[in-house]
Subunit: 336 residues, 2 copies
């Protein structure tokens, strides 16, 4: 299996990307194509004592910047690392692409070059969240801010397949993010979606509230990209706030500082559980190929995990599974 | 000042409500009218060694249950504690009402009996959140799930007045909850609201993201009730999750358990900062009177704090301030 990695995307590119790619090639037995500036990538590769022969370079002369308008960028910069990576997947030279660059550009180029799965109107970003009893996938995490009911139903089918095939959960429980458990609670969109989801051939467990997500109430959380993005960022902000408050309180006394020394291992482990890097890489579901989108702040570990997520999506043939499920459920893409 | 307290509302009514009311009368020098079952309230009062003469009882023969349909309940149960409490404010016998009962019923009865401030289409719940540098008010916290741009502008005016008059913040910074800082980021509603807010006579600082809320990026967070409620519940769930993870890690080793003994004071303090009870009571802004809505799980401390919030809103004449600001900003209620 070959995975195309955008070596130029992200805040710590290319150093951390190259490092993560080498680790992934070593650990997961995949072949990596590092896409981007030949010279820069070679320099990074040279820093590592033993580079796997499984890592190769594909030169790309341009880079889409993080703050660039994505639609313009991918049209103009046809030799940018993100576009070349997508081309490698579309031509079959690679089976998956991974990028920590401009998220909008990655989504746009993947949709353009790989196409959408028949029956899917809008690809969605599936974000993996830690819960008290495992992992949940939330979608859409921010690709589509204004959604209609059909979009949410398609997200549910894609999320269910991902949870079953890649996360290996049996009959994944699908929850609809809303503001009350009763089917009548929510805004217009969620109320209409709840009624439709209840009639579908899915293990739909009804509405779930924000506080239930981390309790592990559902394996798949369905919502529009606005609510999904708010959810992820509020969770991130709250975690940051709690650690800051704890630190402040701890610093108030010597006894507490002693306590925290003893506790530091537990704190580190708790933090790792919450750290996005552990979960590095969100699949863009609904495109006709495997595309893993990473946080801009991704370090080597996040990239390594994202490559693993990409390999797992390929091994489990997620695209075919989603495609079959959409057909079987007779979900037709809405007419334009 | 007299404050009508719904003694029958909430999971721990009437015991905790009565206890909190006595404490508030003692500490804040307000007179309390406990509304509800005379006998039950008397029994609770008798448990306290010295009851302030400032606490009196107003009998009400009915109770609106937590899960009752609020519109029906307040129409049928005209002698329920929540309706009688609202009547006391509307007649001028009390200056504010406090309830930990059915939130929908409290909103409906307050809107019906007190009326709306001219220029306000929909009253909103303002929820107080702890931040790294103080307190922020988020509205709407769940009263209105489907909002239009006019609603959000009205929320901004009300939130600004509340932050300035009651929280005593100078030129409160108004932020619009969205999924990116740029004005062009967000769904249709937030993009339209951003453009309008930027032209208003308010200290509008633009979009804020979920992660910025707890960093204290804004004093007032504006959003529709769906996003607001999701925000509050995700934050609650995340805090719960982090404490659970920490506890689990701690229990793994004796050394850690020793560490946590030393740390327990810090953990307790950190928790208090996050505890809604400390912030007990969210003002229902936009009604023509002071109404404080409490969490159903409110204990005596939460009720005491809610009464303090009610007294502060009365002292600072929040209703007149909002009314004047709406007039001055020429915000007209949208035509039906």
């Amino acid at each position: 299996m070959r995975i195309a990695v955008d070596a130029m995307g992200g805040d710590y590119a290319p150093a951390e990307i190259v490092k993560g790619a080498i680790e992934a090639a070593r650990e997961y037995g995949v072949r990596i194509i590092l896409v981007g500036d030949q010279e820069g990538i070679s320099r990074e590769l040279a820093k590592h004592a033993a580079v796997e022969p499984a890592v190769e370079i594909r030169h790309a002369s341009e880079v889409v910047q993080m703050d660039e308008n994505s639609a313009n960028a991918i049209r103009r910069k046809t030799d940018s690392s993100i576009v070349v990576a997508a081309n490698l997947v579309s031509s079959g030279d690679a089976q998956a692409m991974v990028s920590a660059g401009n998220t909008g550009a990655a989504m746009a180029v993947a949709t353009l070059k790989l196409g959408r799965i028949a029956g899917i109107d809008r690809p969605a970003i599936g974000s993996l969240l830690p819960t008290m009893n495992g992992t949940a996938v939330l979608l859409d995490a921010g690709a589509n801010v204004d959604c209609d009911v059909e979009n949410l139903l398609q997200f549910a089918v894609m999320g269910s397949e991902y949870a079953e095939r890649v996360l290996k959960l049996n009959r994944p429980r699908i929850g609809l993010l809303s503001i009350g458990e009763e089917a009548t609670k929510g805004d217009k969109l969620t109320k209409a979606a709840n009624a439709r989801l209840a009639r579908m051939d899915l293990n739909f467990i009804g509405n779930v509230e924000g506080k239930d997500i981390f309790r592990g109430a559902a394996d798949v959380i369905i919502c529009d990209g606005f609510a999904g993005n708010v959810t992820l960022k509020v969770a991130e902000g709250m975690a940051e706030f709690m650690l800051a408050v704890l630190k402040e309180e701890i610093n108030r006394s010597i006894i507490c500082r002693l306590g925290v020394q003893l506790l530091s291992r537990a704190l580190r482990r708790a933090r790792a559980k919450l750290d996005y890097a552990e979960y590095g890489g969100a699949p863009l579901l609904g495109v006709n190929g495997v595309c893993i989108i990473c946080h801009g702040r991704s370090d080597a570990r996040a990239i390594r995990n994202a490559i693993r997520a990409g390999a797992s999506a390929v091994e489990n043939d997620i695209v075919t599974c989603i495609s079959a499920s959409v057909r079987q459920k007779e979900l037709a893409a809405t007419k334009p």
